[in-house]
Amino acid sequence: MTPALIYGLTGIVVFGIGLFGALCVRDRLRRLLALNLCGMGAAFVLVAGAWRMPPDSADPVPHALVITGIVVLVSATAVALALIRRLHTLESAPEEIPEDTPE
């Protein structure tokens, strides 16, 4: 029984919860959040895999990968949120037909 085992299993369960949410939730914001949970679960497993018994220090490569992943996740979330805002605005004013004007 080590912290890595406990948190690795935690991450896998969080991933499963996120997967289920992404498949079954209707609300867009909540579905985006479920996908975020999936990402966090995967990060959990990576960080747990990098853990070593205390005298040794942890493996830095997965740590760097997870930091990269967190930044990419927030970028993707920001784009998805902008799309959600636009979809919501278009649905609230259905009489206005959007047209893409060239710049």
Partner: protein
């Protein structure tokens, strides 16, 4: 003693799972965001227990702080557009969507359960703590120019990954600016005097903390991404307290800031390659100054980009008025 800490780990793990479930189940969307932010903070705590303080810092600052701010801003916009900003929470959401059929939910639950069981079995049977890259990294550390392994991996051994990550941020801000062009602007909320005083008091300290986190990255947990996130928080404070209002004239400067990190990163790589070395194989002796130069510029870029992702709108682009269908700009 160890057993007590393991008990704490188990409780924390259960709490994290519970928060994840609560974030998906709670009816009110605002409560959902709060649950998600708490989930992120507890995750950061768990990663400290796994001896990953860098990752915990990044998660607390970017994964929780910036993501939470983005979610709240979107929620504000959605409620503003549907005119349900000040209604009581549970009633204010849109009418409930048509329910997913029970059978579909059950089937999905079974599948997800099987996926979890399979992953858990693979994880438990895999040799934990097996040989990773730690030995290779430890051998190469003297040549890396910095004393902190994670920074060495990010800025030296796997610099390609980090470069691509900065490019992803750039792509994200371009996409957000394009999508936001045709959105009507929602007035930002009035924050009040106490908030403005708070912003004025905290801003200088936050700038110092951001630069300190960046500087500490060479020898201790910290670095460009964490420092950039702290500086992005400074940007959010400036934007929300209306101390800084993005003006059309600032558009060129903003674009310059977004590109700065990628430009310096690529420039250094190409210069090194021009000197007859492999790309990102820094000359010995110059590694530390070059890494610090890249980290500094990337930090500025990250801070500007994250703040722009929060602000959303390209300054100076006139939104399409809600009732006419004139083109943007």
């Amino acid at each position: 003693m160890t057993d007590l800490l393991l008990l704490f780990d188990m409780l924390l793990g259960l709490l994290i799972i519970g928060l994840a479930v609560a974030a998906l189940r709670v009816r009110d969307l605002f409560a959902m965001v709060v649950m998600f932010v708490t989930f992120g903070l507890m995750t950061a705590l768990a990663w400290v227990r796994l001896a990953a303080p860098d990752v915990a810092l990044a998660e607390a600052a970017i994964g929780t702080g910036v993501t939470g701010a983005l979610l709240l801003k979107t929620l504000y916009h959605l409620r503003r557009v549907s005119g349900t900003l000040h209604l009581p929470e549970a009633l204010s959401e849109r009418p409930p969507d048509p329910q997913v059929p029970r059978a579909v939910i059950a089937a999905n639950a079974v599948m997800c359960g099987l996926v979890v069981i399979g992953l858990a079995a693979a994880f438990v049977t895999a040799p934990l703590g097996g040989p990773g890259f730690d030995a290779a990294v430890a051998d190469a550390m003297p040549e890396s120019g910095v004393d902190h392994p994670v920074t060495a991996v990010l800025l030296n051994f796997r610099a390609y990954d980090t470069l691509m990550e900065v490019v992803v941020l750039l792509a994200a801000v371009i996409a957000v600016w394009l999508v936001e062009r045709s959105l009507p602007q929602s007035d930002p909320p009035v924050m009040g005097e106490v908030y403005e005083g708070f912003a004025r008091l905290v801003l200088p300290g936050a700038v110092v903390v951001g630069v300190y986190v960046l500087w500490a990255g060479a020898v201790a947990p910290g670095g460009a991404f964490q420092g950039g996130a702290v500086l992005a928080a400074v940007g959010l404070l400036l934007l929300m307290s209306h101390v800084y209002e993005p003006a059309p004239a600032h558009r060129a400067a903003a674009r310059g800031l977004f590109v700065l990190g990628v430009a310096v990163f690529t420039g250094v790589a190409l210069l090194v390659a021009w000197g007859g070395r492999a790309v990102f194989e820094y000359p010995p002796g110059l590694a530390k100054p070059l890494i610090l130069l890249i980290e500094g510029m990337v930090t500025i870029s990250i801070a500007a980009t994250l703040a722009a992702l929060f602000h959303g709108r390209e300054p100076g682009v006139q939104p399409r008025p809600a009732d006419t269908s004139e083109g943007a700009q």
